[in-house]
Amino acid sequence: MDKRKKTTILVRREKKLNKEGEKIMTSPEECEALRTAFSGPHGVEEKSMLEILVKCNPADLTTFRKNSPGIFSDDECYFEKWDSSHMKFLENEFLRFQRAVIQRTMHPWERDALLVRKSLEEKPPLYNLLIELACTRTSEEFLGARKAFQCLYSESVEEFVAVRVEGFQRRLLVALASTYRYEGMRIDEAMIKLECQKLGRAIKIDKKNEIEKDDEVLRILTTRSKHYLKTIHKCYKESYDSNLEEDLDDIQILRDTVNCLCAPPIYFSKILDKAMSVGPTEQEIEALTRVIVTRTDVDMKDIAAEFNRKFGAPLIERIEAAALGNYRDFLVALVKRGMAN
């Protein structure tokens, strides 16, 4: 028999045979579906894997490997070798659902304590994650996380943070991580007007790069209650016709602080969008899990509404398009649940 050139085999039904005379069990569409199932970046499609891989016979698998250059390569070896970085990638994708399940099941205090630890142990450090934890949790919830942190690591959050940052960042982050804010609705209107003016002066009139040296800006943001700060935000908008966080745009940690304290749904919807856009980092991708799992019982309705308003598509739709398998189903179910509450 002459050596025939490798040709693309049109596979329609199981009755087809490949050149070696072996039966072909899967269609090109199924191959494509399988490829997608392995490609992330938000989980794996277990269903495809289950159905299609089982159907495949060795010939199909060879075909699949030969037609998936992103996953396999055979330049150096006599076989289609699995690319090692993809192998690592795939391991991580399989674990996404596991991580989501663990985060959902774990006690919120332990979960948040672990996240605090992670925020400053990652390189580069994730200041916005620390700010998110300190500012979007209630005083009691974050206090619980601080207790859990001590239990897990035999040191306080304050010690841990203070020794890893310096200067202005230390003053802001340690203050945010240690403050025990009043959670009630009582506010002093006269004081709010005064402090709104202080902020306005510091931000609008004094040079922007002096803000870090301004004790009053730090004091107001790190000690006043959330309701107080939301009211100041309104007052600022009325007085200066701009949003406080936008005016603090130059200093990311201040901008994140204001967002997390005054309008968490806006902050969270941005993170969700980033996670599902093109080219996010692994940290940004993991944020999808974190935000959905941690907010389903808190303000998912508001986040979804804000997401829809800002990005023009319902959150659930975006997740269904971006994520795969059990991971996708889990996230969508949590969002639905949060919206129903």
């Binding site: 206090l143 001590q150 304050e158 010690e159 203070a162 020794v163 230390r170 009630g184 009582r186």
Partner: protein, 309 residues
């Protein structure tokens, strides 16, 4: 353990207010000998039975120093700390010291309860009031001291103790007393760790850190730093000194005397009395007896024996 009927106590207290005068002796004999938990029950029962707040009645019926010591004593410890801290944020004289005292001598959980009581009573946080009322270096130190929830474990990292003793010595030698690392170490480390660090400081550099912080006796910030160190590491010595200065002062500082007695009666008054005797060669009872009079004196004396037998 003697069982006191709460209902009886309420009845007796009510009787003490009846008529023209007030039976201060009766008030002292009951309240000075009840724990804060028992007093809490008495207040609740009194309110249920007579529809009035015991504290308000005490306020109406009693006056000046005696009233203050009774009312402070009748408050729940967390409420008491919240009240004293709030008062300190409004005053200028010695306010810094009181804030250091409350934030540094209490355990992490006691301070937390005080902060919760502060929320409930003043509808603001302790941190925001301390921050608002202080400025500059004082704010940089006092706000973290008020916010921190220190780790209370006994484990100590000796390597860390060595390196942080070195940092402290360096900054103090440079007179950089407000350096962010000095503040960091004193306001975030657990008490056991700080103790180890300061022991190492003395071993390595020869002096107690407070000796090195005494370079300018008029510098208020240095005084606050020294108080911080003392409160964190040797509270009983700190309280002995406050009592000594309060009593020896011309005219007596009743505010300080009342504050220390009411806040420590259930905690470590026995040790403080021992320290006082060691340092002053007379007992605290004797000194208070000489320096105060009347019902105020009687209440103080009853309280400093509160835990005994």
């Amino acid at each position: 353990m003697a069982t006191h009927s709460v209902a009886e106590d309420c009845e007796q207290l009510r009787k003490a207010f009846a008529g023209w005068g007030t039976n201060e002796g009766l008030i002292i004999s009951i309240l000075a000998h009840r724990s804060s938990a028992q007093i809490k029950l008495i207040r609740e029962t009194y309110a249920q039975t007579y529809g009035e707040d015991l504290l308000k009645d005490l306020d109406k019926e009693l006056s000046s120093d005696f009233e203050r010591v009774v009312v402070l004593w009748a408050l729940d410890p967390a409420e008491r700390d919240a009240f004293l801290a709030n008062e300190a944020t409004k005053r200028w004289t010695s306010s810094n010291q009181v804030l250091v005292e409350i934030t540094c001598t209490r355990t992490s959980d006691q301070l937390l309860l005080a902060k919760q009581a502060y929320h409930a009573r003043f509808k603001r946080s302790l941190e925001e009031d301390v921050a608002y009322r202080s400025s500059g270096d004082f704010r940089k130190l006092l706000v973290p001291l008020a916010s921190t929830y220190r780790y209370e474990g006994d484990e100590v990292n000796m390597t860390l103790a060595k390196s942080e003793a070195k940092i402290l010595h360096e900054k103090i030698s440079e007179k950089a007393y407000n350096h962010e690392d000095v503040i960091r170490i004193l306001s975030t480390r657990g008490k056991a760790q700080i103790n180890a660090t300061l022991n190492h400081y003395k071993n390595e550099f020869g002096n107690d850190i407070n000796k090195d912080l005494k370079t300018d006796p008029k510098d208020e910030f240095l005084a606050v730093l020294r108080a911080t160190v003392k409160c964190l590491t040797r509270p009983e010595k700190y309280f002995e000194k406050v009592l000594r200065l309060a009593i020896n002062k011309r005219g007596t500082d009743e505010g300080a005397l009342t504050r220390v007695v009411t806040t420590r009666a259930e905690i470590d008054m026995k040790i403080i009395k021992e320290e006082y005797h060691k340092r002053n060669s007379v007992t605290l009872d004797h000194a208070i007896g000489k320096d105060t009079t009347g019902d105020y004196e009687k209440m103080l004396l009853a309280l400093i024996c509160h835990g005994d037998a």
